[in-house]
């Protein structure tokens, strides 16, 4: 293994990912890159994103071909300093033994269910560590919204990501469709799994749920990290919410999903199909409508949690995409007086996916 020759391989995003398709190279042979620069766009079953350089140097060889599917860990490119001779790189490649394609390695089923007063809740558990993170998705989402984050943080923390009632594979009905009712679900989840206290990470409506949980049970919440959070202001893109609920075909829903991202190209067919499959489960549209009517009554956010959360004194990081079209970044900005605020440029409403590296660093920093 050469120190000077750096391998760019097909990454593993989420424990179920087995392969990915290269859709576009963003660099060519000869491009100088720094750590974190995007090299290539990859599409998987669940998600589309970019592979970032983990080393600085010059892109010396591009091996992966566009529109081709490669198993995880396949060598896609070589980065090396300009001073490394081509012959050395050739020799490296000649001697290179690709890693064995793990057929069905540890088919670790990370998903389980737990029965709470509201009904059956699905959740995923990853990693181990003495600190616990609980990830809470937003309106219309599910625990897989956090795939880039759970995989990036599993070596440091014990991680739970759950499907809220009405979402994913959890029960499709609410006892109480308000933020308070959802906070009760989080607390009963923690009770059922004997989690005394945890760091809550919430996206959008999930951010508001995290804050509400902290307000209701401050002793159970060590910190809160939010992405594009609700609960910090009044504005909500109701056209998106209504469009999401009302759409029943790919053509109808695509433009709404595109509003979630800075780069509309991240909306893959698989993502659309997965969301439609969820929406076609019995009772989902009615559940989403009930939730929207409660949490976004009259087209505005129903609750502002700023004062109540401030009073808890619990540490918080509020992350927001500068180009968020669903909830304006200004909401998180206004949290400066009690939270660490990070506004990410070139980022939409799905900051935890669009800028997963920064996101994970911020989550880890807040939870530590």
């Amino acid at each position: 293994m050469s120190d000077t020759i750096k391998q760019v391989v097909m990454p593993k995003w989420g424990l179920s990912m087995k392969e990915g398709k290269i859709t576009r190279w963003l660099v060519s042979e000869g491009t100088t890159v720094g750590v974190g620069d995007e090299l290539t766009e990859v599409e998987t079953e669940k998600i589309a994103s970019a592979v970032e350089a983990t080393d600085a140097g010059v892109v010396r060889r591009i091996l992966g071909e566009v529109d081709t599917i490669y198993p995880v860990k396949t060598l896609l490119a070589i980065i090396a300093d300009a001073s490394v001779p081509d012959s050395e790189i050739d020799a490296f490649l000649a001697a290179y033994v690709p890693p064995a394609v793990e057929e069905d390695e540890e088919v670790v089923d990370v998903y389980s269910t737990v029965t709470l007063p509201v009904g059956e809740i699905r959740y995923a558990k990853y990693g181990s560590g003495d600190k616990t993170l609980i990830f809470i998705h937003g309106f219309g989402g599910d625990c897989d919204n956090w795939l880039f984050n759970t995989s990036g943080l599993a070596d440091q923390f014990t991680i739970y990501a759950l499907d809220l009632p009405g979402h994913g594979r959890s029960v499709k009905g609410f006892t109480d469709a308000s933020l308070s009712g959802m906070a009760d679900v989080i607390l009963s989840f923690m009770d059922a799994l004997s989690i005394d206290s945890a760091n809550l990470i919430g996206h959008s409506m999930g951010g508001a749920i995290s804050m509400k949980t902290a307000i209701k049970a401050p002793k159970r919440v060590k910190s809160v990290t939010t992405f594009g959070s609700a609960g910090l202001g009044i504005d909500i893109n109701m056209e998106y919410i209504d469009g999401f609920i009302g759409s029943d075909s790919r053509r109808e829903i695509k433009p709404f999903l595109e509003q979630l991202f800075f780069d509309a190209g991240l909306v893959s067919r698989q993502m659309i199909d997965d969301i439609l499959k969820y929406k076609r489960l019995d009772h989902v549209p009615e559940s989403l409508r009930e939730l929207a009517d409660t949490v976004f009554t009259g087209g505005k956010q129903s609750e502002n949690l700023v004062e109540a959360f401030k009073a808890t004194g619990i540490p918080m990081t509020a992350i927001h995409g500068a180009d968020d079209k669903i909830i304006p970044a200004a909401h998180s900005e206004a949290a400066k007086s009690f939270a660490k605020v990070e506004i990410l440029a070139g980022t939409g409403h799905m900051a935890q996916m669009e800028k997963s590296k920064e996101a994970n660093a911020l989550i880890a920093a807040q939870a530590k």
Partner: protein, 335 residues
């Protein structure tokens, strides 16, 4: 978590969920429970391949009705009962048996609404096994989808996997028109991730199990799996195949097919039916008419031959379109 269910169990689950939800849903067919009138067990078979097992225990013999060997009578009865407000799901054990009851299906059920000026509805589902590969020979192995697709007033559904089978059967039962629901006997054992809850899939929406930009392969039922196999092989040759699974043949999602051909410029239609007036022929005619300028090469139909289904395994295996045939056809188009 993946909740892996076979297509057979997914179909059973769809029937179970709908019978639980709607008391007007009844099922009938030959041996769908089995053991009727005998001294042995009730629910002796649960359908010839066990697809309807367990339902008579949950819902009773007045909703899970074994029938005498009388397709024209009981399929007609299911249709008449549907016109009178029940929602029957009647089984034609093998869709090949439609010959003895086709009048009730194509002259009665399909035409009531039209002939009676809109003042009737016939929410019946007729489900039956289709397809070859079981060595069941000529009269138990056909893919007769084109015959039903041709008839105005009928809807025709043919899922390729367990997830689609459950959603499409639930949709069929909730639909208010007569639906022919085709179950490929060679896919009963195929597994997929199937949610426990009820869900629907709209008719007239094709699925795209694989995206690609060099060639469009349109298929349904078992042929979707052959197309996907072919695509894997072709990917190694850097040929990027898009596979479209029609899922429903009437209504048919030609918009998705045309959009795909406008992207790839090449079309192969794979169909287990015989070639004359097949679904493949229909798709190719439609694309030729509506997307001619986009085509870079002549569209190709890959179907069974113009023969009955042979019995002996070696011949039956030749009868059913293979992944190799599809690969060859694509390579030819790419030249």
């Amino acid at each position: 978590m993946a909740r892996n269910l076979s297509m057979k169990d997914a179909i059973n689950e769809a029937l179970d969920l709908e019978m639980r939800r709607d008391p007007t849903v009844i099922i009938m067919g030959e041996d769908i429970a089995g053991g009727a009138g005998g001294q042995g067990e009730e629910d002796a078979w649960g359908g010839v391949l066990g697809v309807t097992k367990g339902l008579i225990g949950k819902y009773g013999a007045h909703r899970v009705m074994d029938t005498p060997l009388s397709e024209s009578a009981y399929i007609g009865a299911a249709i008449g009962a549907a016109a009178c407000g029940l929602r029957p799901v009647a089984e034609l054990m093998f869709l090949d048996f439609m010959g003895v009851c086709f009048d009730q299906i194509f002259n009665q059920a399909a035409k009531f609404k039209y002939m009676f000026g809109g003042k009737a509805q016939t929410p019946v589902v007729i489900r039956g096994m289709v397809g070859a590969g079981f060595r069941a020979a000529a009269q138990h192995s056909q893919m007769l989808t084109p015959l039903f697709t041709h008839i105005p007033g009928l809807k025709v559904v043919c899922p390729s996997n367990a997830y689609d089978a459950k959603g499409l059967l639930i949709q069929s039962i909730r639909d208010n028109d007569p639906v022919i629901f085709c179950e490929h006997k060679n896919l009963y054992a195929s597994m997929a991730d199937v949610p426990a809850e009820a869900y629907t899939i709209p008719f007239g929406e094709a699925a795209i199990p694989r995206e690609g930009k060099h060639v469009t392969i349109v298929a349904y039922g078992l042929m979707v799996h052959r197309a996907l196999e072919a695509a894997e092989t072709l990917a190694k040759e850097k040929i990027d195949v898009e596979v479209i699974d029609l899922r429903t043949l009437s209504p048919i999602d030609m918009d998705t097919v045309i959009e795909s051909v406008e992207k790839t410029g090449r079309l192969i239609a794979v169909d287990e039916a015989n070639p004359r007036c097949s679904i493949a022929a229909d798709v190719i005619a439609n694309v030729s008419e509506n997307a001619f300028k986009a085509l870079k090469s002549a569209p190709k139909a890959i179907t069974a031959p113009h023969t009955p289904v042979p019995f002996t395994p070696a011949l039956e295996d030749l009868y059913i379109p293979s992944a190799a045939q599809i690969v060859d056809a694509v390579r030819n188009q790419m030249k």
